[in-house]
């Protein structure tokens, strides 16, 4: 069932892509959207539930004021207009993880609408227009047991955890993004990355894609290429919606994949099926989900158990005053503060590591050291393991702690890599890992001295060269000593000892 694909460059020769992104942001409110249950992630299944979020007969929702506040702040940060009066609506469909078999959402009266975000890709700015941002509740989480696919069809049975049911979500929907051409995959990624940065800056969500607190649905369609200068308005092609793309890298890959897949279908003279697609992180492909025809009818109607939400203009202005600086301005400021070159800054942003570097610096590391780890060791690890860089199990505080150990001379850069190995494996804090793995640099002069003597004895030719004044030859002896010490020595001190002994 593998799809026929057209090479990416060939897609662009014949088609213009149109993107549409729907991003769900799980808010970090203490309680759920419509009840007082806690929202903490990772609790035992079905322990954070009550009559309302279980949808028991007779229960009623009450709107979480903090969630409305977060929604308004997100809307304002996205340059949206804020509704003076809006209602919740019921989206009716049956699914076992939906306690009421309708989702309380917003339909034609979103809390925020008509905004935009300027997205930087390689120094070029794309304006992404925001259609709306609305409030809704999350569903429960189904786990399908048995069967081959982990999907509901073919499963022996399914378990549902309603802890997630009723967690407040903000869904942010873009207008169709056209004109990105070859940069469409990067624009999609940069938009989600920048949106995530904004959400982090607003402090309204944990914004952890790997935990699903930010989930992106990627809509893509292709239209026949319109020649430059043509006045014909481009017509959007049939779209597919790839659900739950849960890392920045995957957003880019999913767009790329769907562009190649659509092009192959269109090249063959066939029609793209309007449907939901599932993204497979492991294989990097999408597969068909349920067919999503326009006939799918959610029978929306205003939620009669809730009164309208009417944020006063005064309150909206108060909230506007609490907004953090916008990411573009913030980027310029950080670049100046950190003294990064344009290239360094672009790489940092491109790797999705801006916030991580900022947090690492805030945790006490130098900007260059923070950048070195995130864009070096950690970016490599992310790439090798196909994991989002913020999902490696390594926090900014960890990186700062590792660098502090290096600065203190407890470990060196090479040993630091072992510390990161330990962090990936969840062996504890950097300090604990250094202790447990015995990574501390040996500062015992006796042991060092013995190792130096041993290396000199084993390499008489090299020793002679150094005695003759060829100091550069010391490197070979340093290597031998470090090997003997299993890397746990301060190379500078070793060099000093060698030169002292051979002078």
């Amino acid at each position: 069932m593998s799809d026929t694909l057209v090479p990416f460059d060939d897609v662009l020769a014949s088609y213009d892509p149109a993107l549409g992104l729907e991003v769900h942001v799980e808010l970090n409110t203490v309680t759920k959207m419509f009840c007082g249950c806690p929202t903490e992630f990772g609790a035992e299944p079905n322990t954070q539930v009550c009559p309302t979020c279980l949808g028991l007969p007779g229960s009623m929702p009450v709107v979480n004021g903090k969630a409305v506040e977060s929604a308004v702040r997100i809307g304002l940060a996205l340059n949206c207009r804020i509704a003076e009066w809006c209602r919740f609506a019921r989206k009716n469909y049956f699914y076992p993880d939906m306690p009421k078999n309708f989702q309380t959402s917003q339909y034609d009266e979103p809390i925020a609408f008509d905004g935009f975000m300027d997205v930087d890709v390689d120094g070029e700015t794309f304006r992404v227009e925001i259609e709306r941002a609305h409030m809704e509740e999350d569903t429960g989480k189904s786990t399908h047991i048995g069967g081959a696919t982990g999907r509901i069809h073919g499963a022996d049975y399914s378990l549902v955890d309603y802890n997630r049911a009723g967690i407040p979500l903000i869904e942010i929907v873009t207008k169709p993004i056209v004109g990105a051409g070859a940069k469409a995959p990067e624009v999609a990624r940069a938009y989600v990355a920048q949106l995530r940065d904004l959400i982090v800056a607003l402090g309204v969500s944990d914004a952890r894609m790997e935990q699903g607190s930010i989930r992106a649905d990627v809509n893509l369609s292709l239209a026949p290429k319109v020649s430059t200068g043509s006045t014909t308005k481009p017509v959007l092609g049939t779209r597919t919606e790839t659900k739950n793309v849960n890392s920045l890298r995957s957003v880019e890959r999913a767009v790329r994949y769907e562009m190649s897949r659509h092009a192959a279908i269109l090249d063959a003279g066939e029609k793209v099926l309007q449907e939901t697609r599932h993204w497979h992180e492991d294989t990097g492909i999408t597969t068909s989900g349920r067919e999503k025809s326009d006939a799918e009818d959610y029978r929306y109607f205003p939620e009669p158990d809730l009164v309208p939400v009417a944020p006063s203009r005064e309150w909206v202005e108060e909230l506007r005053a609490t907004l953090p600086e916008n990411p573009t301005a913030q980027r310029a400021r950080l670049q100046a503060e950190w003294g990064f070159s344009d290239l360094e800054m672009r790489d940092t942003v491109g790797a999705g590591a801006l916030a991580l570097v900022e947090e690492t610096v805030a945790a006490g590391s130098s900007p260059q050291a923070a950048r070195k780890w995130w864009l070096g060791e950690l970016a490599r690890r992310a790439n090798d393991t196909d994991t989002a860089i913020d999902a490696l199990g390594v926090t900014a505080a960890d990186v700062a702690a590792v660098q502090a150990l290096v600065d203190a001379g407890t470990i060196n850069d090479k040993l630091a890599r072992s510390v990161f190995e330990g962090l990936y494996a969840g062996e504890g804090t950097p300090e604990e890992i250094v202790a447990a793995r015995g990574l501390e640099i040996v500062s015992d002069e006796g042991a060092l001295s013995a190792a130096v003597d041993k290396a000199i004895a084993a390499n008489p030719d090299v020793a002679d060269k150094i005695r003759d004044g060829k100091v550069a030859a010391a490197g070979a002896l340093i290597g031998a000593v470090m090997k003997e010490m299993r890397g746990q020595a301060d190379a500078g001190r070793v060099r000093e000892l060698i030169l002292a002994k051979l002078s």
């Binding site: 007779g58 709107v63 006939a295 029978r299 109607f301 009669p304 009164v307």
Partner: protein, 516 residues
């Protein structure tokens, strides 16, 4: 049996008797449990007002109440006065079915706000009363557990959907009961059983814990034998509830004071409007006769009576039967066998969807299915504007008719229902005829205004009770109580006692063993 039959007394009297130490709550509660055992029967015979009787729980509460009183610490004037609760209201630890097979055996883990307030005031809950399935009906015949019978004539319907609560009160099985009224389910049963029923202003009583029929129309309220008792009960259960966003955050004028004021029989200066559209063809002559006599009495009491036209009321029924099914089609979606209630698992290797289908097919009755289908259709894309959207517009017009009328008069009056109690089975196969019973009660739900039904006498044709309805502007529930109490007092003076004194004595059923 003691010389005094405590079941015949009003709740206000019982409160006094408890306060004076003339009787204990345990005695009162036991008297009502005995009465239930004697007349309630089951699906095949007797009044069948109750679906569940909690003798043990009620007596335990009564004992606690007596201890509090003995210590001089009653929680409320009605502390210790027993009450029955309609089975659509959730009760922690007590089965709650809403009259449906799909909830058979479900025991809620929480209390409705109304129940919480009843418990906080110390009233023993006798049990849960019968009703049309999910409150859909006007006869209680749509209960999945068999019909309730009218204590006036056991071949007749007790009204609906709250026939159980009304019949329980009429048959002296309980002095007080809780009902819910979406299109008349408190008032119409009150009318046909000769009891008092009040639908408060929308939002005046919390809906938290009421199994929703139509959220924008539902309202819980008192079912009693006197207007004063209803006022006492509404004051107990009413008031703002943070768990119900739609509940009114505003204090109502004293209802008990209004009832007492009305009982003086003086209505000087009160302007009363008789609704033109709530009479005419299809209205039983005996109903109209008693209604007219009542109006004449109000005039004698000093009220100024005029005729008021509310032209959009003729569209109320059609409007109601679009809005209600739409809301209920969505509300009832949760009954899917996944979390609670009935679960029917078809043969073979069924999917979750197959289980949902089979359960809903087996668990819902025909009337419920009918309304789910109607509502699903009314909300469907392409039909929404023509049906649900249009109905909401008409609803606004109906509210405006009320507003215009209340510019001219203080209250509006009409017969509560077009006919007296019809025979069991008579309209069961004719949904439209059944729906027509709520012609006079539905406009108040659509506009959210309060209404009361008080007994107005017996129709000449069949000797069955007729109800008189008083409607007031939103938040002016006190006006319903004042005018209702005045009519009650004036009629009692004419009859030499309450209407229920004319009801036939009920046969005592053989004592039946069992958990009821």
């Amino acid at each position: 049996m003691s010389a005094v039959d405590w079941t015949r007394r009003t709740a206000a009297d019982l409160a006094d008797a408890l306060a004076s130490g003339e009787v204990t709550s345990v005695e009162l509660t036991q008297a009502h449990l005995d009465r239930i055992a004697a007349v309630d029967g089951d699906a095949t015979a007797g009044v069948h007002a109750f679906l569940h009787v909690d003798a043990e729980g009620a007596l335990a509460t009564a004992r606690e109440s007596d201890e509090r009183r003995a210590a001089g610490n009653p929680l409320h004037p009605l502390d210790g006065v027993p009450i029955a609760v309609k089975d659509v209201v959730v009760t922690e630890g007590m089965p709650t079915t809403a009259g449906s097979k799909i909830l058979e055996g479900w025991v809620p883990p929480y209390d409705a706000t109304v129940v919480r307030r009843i418990k906080a005031a110390g009233l023993p809950i006798l049990g849960k009363t019968n009703m049309d399935e999910f409150a859909m009906g006007s006869s209680t015949e749509h209960s999945a557990y068999g019909p309730t019978r009218n204590p006036w004539d056991q071949t007749r319907i007790p009204g609906g959907s709250g026939g159980g609560s009304a019949a329980a009160v009429a048959a002296y099985e309980a002095p007080l009961a809780i009902g819910t009224d979406t299109g008349g389910s408190i008032r119409q049963p009150g009318a046909v059983t000769g009891t008092v029923g009040v639908k408060p202003t929308y939002g005046a009583v919390s809906r938290y814990g009421l199994i929703a029929l139509a959220n924008s129309l539902d309202q819980a309220g008192p079912v009693t034998r006197t207007v004063l008792d209803a006022a006492l009960l509404q004051e107990l259960i009413g008031g703002h509830d943070p768990l119900d966003s739609t509940s009114v955050d505003q204090e109502l004028p004293s209802l008990v004071d209004a009832a007492r004021q009305g009982a003086s029989g003086d209505l000087s200066g009160v302007r009363i409007g008789v609704v033109t559209e709530m009479s005419g063809e299809g209205w039983q002559p005996g109903v109209m006769a008693r209604f007219q006599e009542s109006v004449d009495l109000l005039v004698k009491a000093g009220a100024e009576v005029v005729e008021v036209s509310c032209p959009t009321f003729v569209h109320a029924l059609a409007t109601y039967y679009l809005i209600l099914p739409a809301e209920c089609s969505s509300n009832l979606a949760k009954f899917d066998a996944m979390r609670y209630g009935l679960r029917v698992v078809p043969e073979g290797n069924p999917s979750a969807e197959d289980v949902m289908k089979a359960t809903r097919d087996a668990g819902f009755g025909d009337e419920v299915k009918r309304r789910i289908i109607l509502g699903t259709y009314a909300l469907s894309s392409g039909y929404y504007d023509a049906y649900y959207g249009q109905a909401q517009k008409v609803r606004t017009l109906i509210s405006r008719d009320f507003e215009a009328a209340f510019d001219k008069v203080d209250v509006l009056v009409s017969p509560t229902a077009p006919t007296t109690a019809f025979e069991l089975g008579e309209k069961l196969d004719d949904p439209l005829a059944m729906y027509l019973n709520d012609l006079a009660t539905i406009p108040a739900n659509l506009a959210g205004v309060p209404g009361i039904s008080v007994p107005a006498g017996l129709a000449d044709e069949d000797g069955l009770p007729v109800g008189f309805q008083v409607l007031a502007p939103a938040l002016a529930d006190d006006r319903c109580y004042r005018v209702g109490a005045a009519l009650e007092a004036l009629l009692a003076a004419e009859w030499g006692g309450p209407l229920l004194d004319k009801a036939p004595d009920l046969d005592k059923l053989d004592h039946r063993e069992g958990d009821r």
